[in-house]
């Protein structure tokens, strides 16, 4: 059927909106080869996942330190951490990203010039990981604090009575024992991290959402590319859900089941 003929009926027009050329055209648009934009999307997805993994790791590190500071730190440390978690959770991520993205790179460069080094170009990947990690850290501090409090305190006291050093205590007792309480919250944070990477598109970092926008802008096939990106994000979420469910079951091994208790 010729395109002009097809466009004459209203139903065919709707199909045309979804399929600008034809079904073969979609495959061509989404194919990984240079004519299609599938490769660009996959590269964007890879960047998104890199940022999400990095930010989650940074967030976990900040979270453990923050939780320890909030529980065992002195009064000043506690108050400063309270200010950190409150501010980060009250200000939109988009504003924080803009603020930290510019302020962070600017501060580091000013420091470097002050010591006498050359200015450096901080890559978007590092800046993105640092900024999202800083945001994630505030949330995971609260998650970890709750999880450490949920450990039966006798276990920690027993470890201290055996003369374990704080590092050994953290590695052998606190971290493994708090895992089942922390994993549901941390799983949620991972899902938030994968979705928050999209915000970096606003500061011009090349990740899945920005890749989609570029592909859609060039080919004018907006709906196809946004739907394809949505499917990719959804796949990541569902796959993570599956894996995290297994992880939670693994971390709960040997503990009485919540379902049986009811």
């Amino acid at each position: 059927m010729a395109p002009a003929e097809r466009a004459s009926t209203p139903g065919a027009k709707l199909i045309d909106a979804f399929l600008p050329a034809s079904a073969a055209g979609i495959i061509e648009l989404l194919s990984p080869a240079p004519v299609g934009w599938g490769g660009t999307l996959m590269l964007g997805l890879l960047h998104s996942l890199e940022i999400a993994v990095g930010a989650t790791c940074v967030g976990l590190l900040i979270g453990i330190c923050g939780a320890y500071g909030k529980l065992y730190g002195g009064p000043v440390v506690r108050d400063l951490l309270a200010v950190y978690t409150t501010i980060v959770r009250a200000v939109p991520e988009l504003v924080l990203i803009l603020l930290l993205y510019y302020a962070g790179t600017d501060l580091i460069n000013q420091l470097l010039t002050a010591i006498g080094y050359q200015r450096i170009d901080i890559s978007g990947l590092v800046a993105g990981i640092a900024v999202l990690g800083f945001v994630q850290g505030a949330y995971s501090t609260e998650v970890m604090r709750g999880a450490i409090l949920a450990i039966p305190q006798g276990q920690i006291e027993a470890a201290r009575a055996y003369g374990m050093s704080p590092g050994l205590l953290l590695r052998r007792i606190t971290l493994p024992a708090m895992l089942p309480f922390a994993i549901p919250g941390l799983a949620n944070l991972w899902l938030i991290a994968t979705k928050d990477t999209a915000l970096l598109a606003v500061v011009g970092f090349f990740e899945l959402t920005l890749a989609t926008r570029q592909a859609a802008g060039v080919t004018k096939a907006y709906l196809i590319f946004y739907l394809a990106a949505g499917v990719l994000y959804l796949t990541v979420s569902l796959f993570s859900n599956l894996m995290l469910g297994r992880l939670e079951a693994w971390s709960r091994r040997g503990m009485p089941s919540v379902k049986d208790a009811r």
Binding site: P10, K13, A17, P75, V76, D79, L80, I87, R89, A90, V91, P92, E93, L94, V95, L96, L98, L99, Y102, A103, D106, L191, K195, D196, T197, A198, L199, A201, V202, T209, T212, R213, A216, K220, Y222, L223, Y226, L227, A229, G230, Y233, L234, S237, L238
Partner: protein, 269 residues
């Protein structure tokens, strides 16, 4: 006598809170704020004052409308998942999964650029009364934020509806209430009370999502800050003020919801 006791109580609590290290921290914070006021450039404020107020008003308006509409969608979505047959429960579940599994920014751009690019092709849409609205950006922003709130809150309402004790509903049925009356008088209020603490967090999250509409050219307070940055080449001042504004709104929201929560007489579980 009683007032004297409360005064002593307040003084005692204040002195407990206002320990020496806190006084030092507050002084340092005041010093930082003062140096920000003195040494940063704020001369652009009078010029953008009115625009900023309009932006705040627009952000609050979007927040209110999307939360109200989203909650209205969330109630049937939650109810369908908690008590509906598989034919209504499955679509509701799929809706929640899709909304919660993809970034809001992508949903927003899908609606604005994707769906928005379809409409002009149809003459009957261009001639209808909807066209003046569909040509603007804010309906897409409101739609995306509403759906997002409905998706997240629908999951909360599912848990809240399922958490109402069976005995309450059975008692209502034994009194001969109709199904609609049971829902209106027993099920919805109790589920709402259960969902209220989560509702505070969801509303704050929704407030933090509103600046995304600036990316589809709706002029909210975030977009105003962006315009100031473009016009004056200032990096930090507009963003710091913006952060302060959002923190203030969050504080007011949390305080108000806390007041509402405290007014509910019988706390459950």
């Amino acid at each position: 006598m009683a007032s004297e006791a409360t005064v002593i109580n307040v003084v005692a609590r204040t002195s407990l809170w206002l320990q020496p290290h806190r006084i030092v921290l507050i002084l340092i914070a005041l010093g930082l704020v003062l140096s920000a006021v003195l040494f940063m450039r704020w001369d652009w404020l009078p010029q953008y004052w009115e625009m900023g107020l309009m932006g705040i008003w627009r952000a609050l308006w979007i927040l209110g409308v999307t939360c109200a509409l989203g909650f209205m969608i969330a109630v049937p979505v939650g109810l369908a998942q908690a008590a509906g047959s598989i034919w209504v429960a499955a679509p509701a579940k799929v809706f929640c999964t899709i909304i919660r599994g993809t970034p809001l920014l992508l949903q927003l751009w899908l609606l604005y650029y994707g769906l928005g690019s379809l409409f002009p092709q149809y003459p009957w849409i261009r001639e209808s009364w909807m066209w003046p609205y569909l040509r603007q950006a804010w309906p897409y922003g409101v739609l995306a934020l509403t759906l997002s709130f409905a998706g997240y809150e629908g999951e909360v309402m599912r848990g809240a509806f399922a958490g109402v004790p069976k005995g309450q509903l059975e008692a209502a049925r034994a009194f001969g209430m109709s199904r609609w009356k049971i829902f209106r008088r027993i099920w919805l209020p109790q589920a709402f009370y259960r969902a209220l603490p989560t509702l505070t967090g969801e509303t704050v999250l929704q407030l933090k999502s509103t600046p995304l509409v600036a990316t589809i050219s709706v002029i909210d307070i975030f977009a105003v800050a962006g315009k100031v940055r473009q016009d004056t080449y200032l990096t930090y001042e507009p963003l710091l003020l913006l952060a302060l504004i959002y923190m203030t709104i969050t504080g007011i929201l949390v305080f108000t919801f806390g007041r509402i929560e405290a007014r509910i007489p019988n706390k459950i579980g």
